[in-house]
Symmetry: C2
Subunit: 331 residues, 2 copies
DNA sequence: TTGAAAGCGCTAACAC
DNA sequence: GTGTTAGCGCTTTCAA
């Protein structure tokens, strides 16, 4: 099947290509009968406008690039859904880029993005390098970052303040007499863990103490489970153990149980990033409901706003809140 | 910053735009010193070729469209990673499209894909409509579908034969005297469940029996857990319960345990789609390791092959195998 | 209301 | 080895 173009339609409908263009773009000025004539020609030939040519002519691609860390779909899934749903509404397409653990081909990706002339970029990445971002802003590409608080001329952000999340939680614990809190390292999310440590330190300091419950997982251990198995066997000197992801919470739960202790009686357990698996564990694990879908949806909405309202979107820094969901692993 | 084009570079380097084009495309014929001169101009101006214009001129976009069911990132994540890794190697970009549960805007997506003139399409969708696919093939877009066995002129497929997977497993069970197998409905994956039922029926028929262990979840129950809680309380009249997803396996595990029974002594449990959560459950749940990453990687490789070798790729139907991972939920 | 024609930025013959 | 030029398919003035 020959590639059929606007010229073919014009010829078929016996009008100029300008008129066809007007019809497909819903211009008001076209007379009804010629509009119909053109429509029929379009139908008959099965014509679909070439978005690439349109993009070139209009200097806009109606696609936005999305950068997410590879292999993070577990906790990125809902965010992506949020992004996509809103993108659909505004007729934007999504170009998916992923950054691989460790390897920083972030520069390749940025290069690629610039070349593809997307209208905007959404970045969801733990370890975000300010310099790399500058690359993008230099080319005037509007950006929204998810998860990190930051903004300037062309970048907006949507995030949850994890630092104050744990801060609040820790303050509450301490007030209730649970002064020994532990935070488990998460190799996959160093930046996140840093935020959490900061929040904890702050809460301790305010109570005239120093936070010393950070539990690192020695490199020789392949998994948190293996390490915790050892770590936990002579008892857990903490009131509450905090983990970032569900799988780590489950590792704590399993090892603690296997060491003959009880949750929440001997030690309480909280998982920051809640998931359905938390409620499948026994006892069910308490967690913070993070508005992941909204993070995506709001980010995309913000971006479209930046795209249309050009250079004045007042609130380019949007903080979303969370909800603590107490279950059976805390008292 | 003004958008800088190939003309600007040409002027800066004092050559024609054709020469610049040759340089950026790595043409051999350019003399070394002019190549250097052009390179310098490119650097100096920060020029990045416009992929849209290239796409228009070359009639190829080097991007391929990806269609996945929304909210399925949990079990699609690794597949996407496989796709992306290979796509990167061949310098293809990925356009992400998602189909929403129920709503069939598949037609919108296809329309969109045709307009965007992608070079190829990868479809990963449970309920794939042959007609919709024809839309695409009509426009000569090479397609690879993941998960469904099918192929013709312009479509290839990469899949795991779940039907024979359960068939083999059931045959084995029956041979060992475990004749009462159950399969739990999975509302999210009707097509998959159908395959599984077929495989089980086949195995039973070959043993002169009829499969009657399909457990439907009545609509009034909001979750498998709630239903199973009821269902299980007077005992489970099966030797082995089979579920598709990990969360269902966990629902079975929890309800069975809560009803005072023991896994695997009172009833065995197997999860088709294995995941890390299966090994975090206690007892750990047996499952089939599906090569999800490879499904993606192989699919993309196949597509690139179809894209380059045009009309003769011999094996356009690729079956991948699986590995049974026995854990503690089976004997 | 419609058409002619000049771009959008790049590639690829074809000339020189 | 390098430049000229005709597209690629579409949008958008500017005239008519």
């Amino acid at each position: 099947m020959k590639r059929i173009t606007i010229y073919d339609v014009a010829k078929e409908a016996d009008v100029s290509l300008a008129t066809v263009s007007r019809v497909i773009n819903g211009s008001e000025v076209v007379r009804e009968d010629t509009r119909v004539k053109v429509q029929e020609a379009i139908e008959k030939l099965g014509y679909k406008p070439n978005a690439i040519a349109q993009g070139l002519a209009l200097q806009k691609t109606t696609t936005i690039a999305l950068i997410v860390p590879e292999a993070s779909y577990f906790y990125t899934g809902q965010i992506i859904n949020g992004l996509i749903d809103v993108a659909k509404i505004y007729k934007y397409n999504l170009m998916l880029h992923t950054t691989t653990e460790g390897i920083t081909e972030m520069n390749d990706i940025i290069e690629n993005i610039i070349k593809s002339r997307v209208d905007g970029v959404v970045i969801f990445n733990d370890k975000l390098n300010k310099e790399e971002l500058n690359q993008l802003t230099k080319y005037q590409v509007p950006i929204v970052v998810i998860g990190n608080k930051m903004s300037d001329e062309t970048v907006g952000s949507v995030y949850v303040d994890y630092s104050s999340l744990v801060y609040d939680y820790a303050m509450d614990c301490i007030a209730k007499g649970k002064k020994r809190l532990a935070l488990i390292e998460d190799r996959k999310n160093p930046a996140m863990i840093k935020q959490l440590r900061d929040g904890l330190s702050r809460a301790y300091k305010e109570n005239g103490m120093e936070f010393d419950g950070y539990i690192e997982i020695p490199k020789e251990y392949r998994s948190s489970y293996l390490f915790l198995k050892e770590y936990v066997k002579d008892g857990v000197p903490y009131d509450v153990v905090i983990t970032y992801r569900d799988s780590q919470a489950m590792a704590v739960m399993n090892t603690v149980k296997e060491a003959g202790m009880n949750i929440p009686d001997d030690v309480e357990l909280v998982c920051i990033l809640d998931s359905k698996y938390n409620s499948m564990a026994r006892p069910q694990i308490s967690g913070f409901k993070i508005p992941d879908y909204d993070l995506g949806a709001v980010a995309m909405r913000l971006l479209t706003k930046m795209l249309t309202d050009e250079n004045d979107v007042p609130d380019k820094e949007i903080e979303l809140s969370y909800i603590f969901t107490p279950r059976k692993s805390t008292k």
